[in-house]
């Protein structure tokens, strides 16, 4: 394993920070009821998106799911395009036809995000099949949640990727909940997702999904393995979403009992942004003033994107039929 250089460590920190500031800003604005699209915020899960996407080349492609803002931004998707899409504007990345769960930015290698849990997993494998047929060295990464392993589509795709030795990095964000269903009602006690995946003869690793540096190293190794034609890799990243399943609120504020405030706080103590920042300071790669500067920069960027999105025009109703095949 080659040591990750200092510049990349800083980039990883700045990426989790930017994702965090974007999502908490958007979540706060969401309460204004002007973003008329069901929105699944990824606050708390930034390290997975940042760790994997920074490990990929610009020309590599990613697919993601309904909680896809982090992945979209981490891969370099247009922030303006995302924010305008949430506001339903013509300048949105999907021209206001897709909303929060249907994002795209081909120029950044974000093919699509979709709302059906396991849907993009097979699609990612199909893109990898095309790369393999063309002897194209690009890699495909696909993000999905733990509940995708309850749908048949996952098993069809991972079996196919294994049979064909396809260059796919399967990234499972295991945040322990499917909407409000805890893992305990969805999996038998003692279940290991990695064990399931290994039975398909696919390399699988369980990771601390709140440690952006650990995720990054594992993703680098996985992408390298894919590029060498050694087949797919599955990364199970243990993480936690702070906000409700869909929407900008904390569950405990709404009196929901499916998880406790104490559980949330125990995960907030493992905040991926703070942990990464502390490591940079400890290793002498950044001073606390620099962290503050980067925070201010991230806030300024998101605020100006919001201002542009709010000012942007809505699609014209006469264009309702545009983009139908």
């Amino acid at each position: 394993m080659t040591r990750v250089d200092d510049e990349t460590l800083i980039r990883l920190y700045r990426t989790v920070l930017e994702l965090r500031q974007a999502e908490i800003t958007l979540a706060e604005l969401y309460k204004e009821q002007m973003m008329r699209t069901p929105t699944h915020f990824g606050v708390g899960q930034e390290a997975v998106a940042a760790g994997v996407c920074v490990a990929l080349q610009k020309s590599d492609l990613i697919y993601s799911h309904h909680r896809g803002h982090n992945h979209y931004l981490a891969k370099g998707g247009s922030l303006d395009g995302l924010v305008a899409e949430l506001y339903g504007k013509e300048t949105g990345c999907s021209r206001g036809r897709g909303g929060s769960v249907h994002l795209t930015d081909l120029s950044a290698g974000v093919v699509i995000t979709t709302a059906i849990l396991s849907q993009t997993i097979a699609v990612a494998a199909g893109t990898a099949l095309a790369f393999k047929m063309d002897e194209d060295s690009r890699v495909v990464a696909v993000f999905f949640g733990d509940a995708s392993l309850e749908e048949g589509g996952f098993y069809e795709a991972i079996n196919y990727a294994a049979v064909k030795s396809l260059p796919v990095v399967f990234v499972c964000e295991n945040n322990l909940y499917s909407t409000e269903s805890p893992v305990g009602v969805r999996q038998a006690p003692g279940t290991s997702l990695c064990e399931r995946v290994r039975s398909f003869k696919v390399e699988a690793h369980e990771l601390d999904g709140n440690d952006v540096f650990a995720v990054h190293e594992a993703a680098l190794a996985a992408a390298q393995r894919c590029r060498m034609g050694q087949g797919p890799v599955f990364l199970e990243c243990m993480t936690y979403r702070w906000l409700e399943h869909v929407g900008p609120n904390y569950d405990h504020e709404l009196g929901r009992a499916y998880r406790t405030r104490e559980e949330l706080e125990s995960w907030q103590e493992r905040c991926p942004v703070r942990r990464a920042g502390e490591r940079l300071v400890k290793d002498g790669l950044a001073k606390p003033e620099e962290l503050q500067l980067w925070l201010d920069e991230a806030n300024a960027v998101i605020q100006s994107a919001v201002a542009r999105a709010k000012d942007a025009p809505f699609p014209n109703p006469v264009d309702l039929f545009d983009y139908v095949y």
């Binding site: 492609l61 697919y63 949105g92 990345c93 999907s94 021209r95 206001g96 036809r97 897709g98 249907h102 795209t104 930015d105 081909l106 093919v111 699509i112 979709t114 059906i116 849907q119 993009t120 997993i121 097979a122 699609v123 990612a124 494998a125 199909g126 893109t127 990898a128 099949l129 095309a130 790369f131 047929m133 495909v140 048949g152 589509g153 069809e156 795709a157 079996n159 196919y160 049979v163 545009d322 983009y323 139908v324 095949y325």
Partner: protein, 342 residues
């Protein structure tokens, strides 16, 4: 012009398209086996072994694989030996491929996948191996659905499908693979949304799909013996639908029978009936008749099957009834020439 079977016509079309476009590949269960989907993929598999390959039984996943390959420039053809297996791929096909262009505002490119799926009837195919899914599929904006009845159309519509930038489903009838007809040797695409009028007539319009085109043509011959001159219109594509040709025929004849390979409830026959009453109401001289499957799942036992599937005689009898005739239809029904076990 030389004649080819429906199966050979598809094979020839595939080979010609694959010679021109190296991005085309064909996959699905047993596409590279000696039997090759009623013979239609045998020659392509021989000529392009790396581009015609078997797949695990994964109808949902395989449709997703095709979409993902198409998203980066491939032109996948996936084949279902029975269209009933497509149900498992509906999420990918209908919920993703058909909507891809629209829900990403045209910004995520196109996913031009082609799905070939075999429909069938008779010989005890039973409830889960004899459906005909055109109405379900065509319901969704974004999906093209074609039903070739003639060998030339099987080739020409496939060639068009392989040049589209959107997903296309081709529903091929099992009974038609051995059917012979004139087929141009050159690869001439047949445009979608253009119906064929296989028989011109002045008294009655029969709009028919797939195998029912042949039943309608036999019915039209019988009706002629009773002095009724029927026109047989084959829409060839369910979506897009050539409304103009259908309406022009209805306005000419004033009478309409729709004969489809599926059920009438929420079905294609009902769609055409609605088209007639909305846009050609004043031309109608008689009620519209729908000829479709009996309203139950497909049975197996032969006497039940005989009662379940409409045939040439069913159409002809309906035609006679429309004219208030008490005549009886002759022995015009084809024997089911299909041989088992598959």
């Amino acid at each position: 012009m030389r004649t080819l079977s429906y199966s050979r016509a598809i094979s020839e079309g595939l080979v010609q398209a694959m010679q021109r476009d190296e991005n085309i590949f064909v996959t699905g269960i047993a596409v590279d086996y000696p039997s090759g989907i009623f013979g239609s993929t045998v020659e392509p598999a021989e000529m392009f072994p790396s581009r015609v390959f078997d797949a695990p039984a994964m109808e949902d996943g395989l449709t997703g694989i095709a979409i993902g390959a198409a998203a980066v420039g491939k032109r996948p053809v996936i084949v279902h030996p029975r269209n009933d297996f497509m149900f498992q791929g509906f999420d990918q096909l209908i919920n993703l491929a058909a909507k891809w262009s629209y829900m990403y505002g045209g910004q995520a490119g196109r996913v031009p996948i082609v799905v070939r799926a075999v429909i069938g009837r008779g010989w005890g195919q039973g409830a889960t191996h004899s459906q005909s899914l055109q109405s379900v599929l065509a319901h969704f904006p974004g999906l093209i659905v074609a039903m070739p009845a003639m060998p030339a159309d099987a080739k020409g519509l496939l060639l068009t499908a392989l040049q589209q930038d959107s997903p296309v489903v081709l529903l091929e009838h099992r009974t038609l693979y051995g059917h012979e007809g004139e087929v141009p040797e050159r690869p001439i695409p047949i445009p979608f949304g253009r119906a064929a009028v296989w028989r011109e007539g002045s008294d009655l319009t029969i709009v028919a799909t797939s195998l029912m085109v042949h039943e309608a043509l036999a019915a039209a011959e019988e009706l002629m013996r009773h002095g009724i001159d029927a026109e047989v219109v084959d829409p060839r594509t369910i979506r897009p639908l050539d409304e103009e040709t259908i309406l022009a025929s209805i306005r000419k004849t004033g009478r309409l029978i729709v004969a489809d390979t599926s059920w009438e409830f929420c079905g294609f026959a009902s769609e055409v009936a609605a088209l007639a009453v909305e846009k050609a109401f004043h031309a109608l001289k008689a009620p519209v008749r729908r000829i479709a499957l009996a309203d139950c799942p497909a049975p197996v036992s032969q006497p039940l099957e005989n009662a379940f599937y409409p045939k040439a005689s069913t159409i002809a009898q309906a035609g006679l009834n429309l004219f208030g005739s008490n005549s009886t239809v002759g022995e015009i029904d084809h024997e089911d020439s299909f041989k088992g076990p598959y």
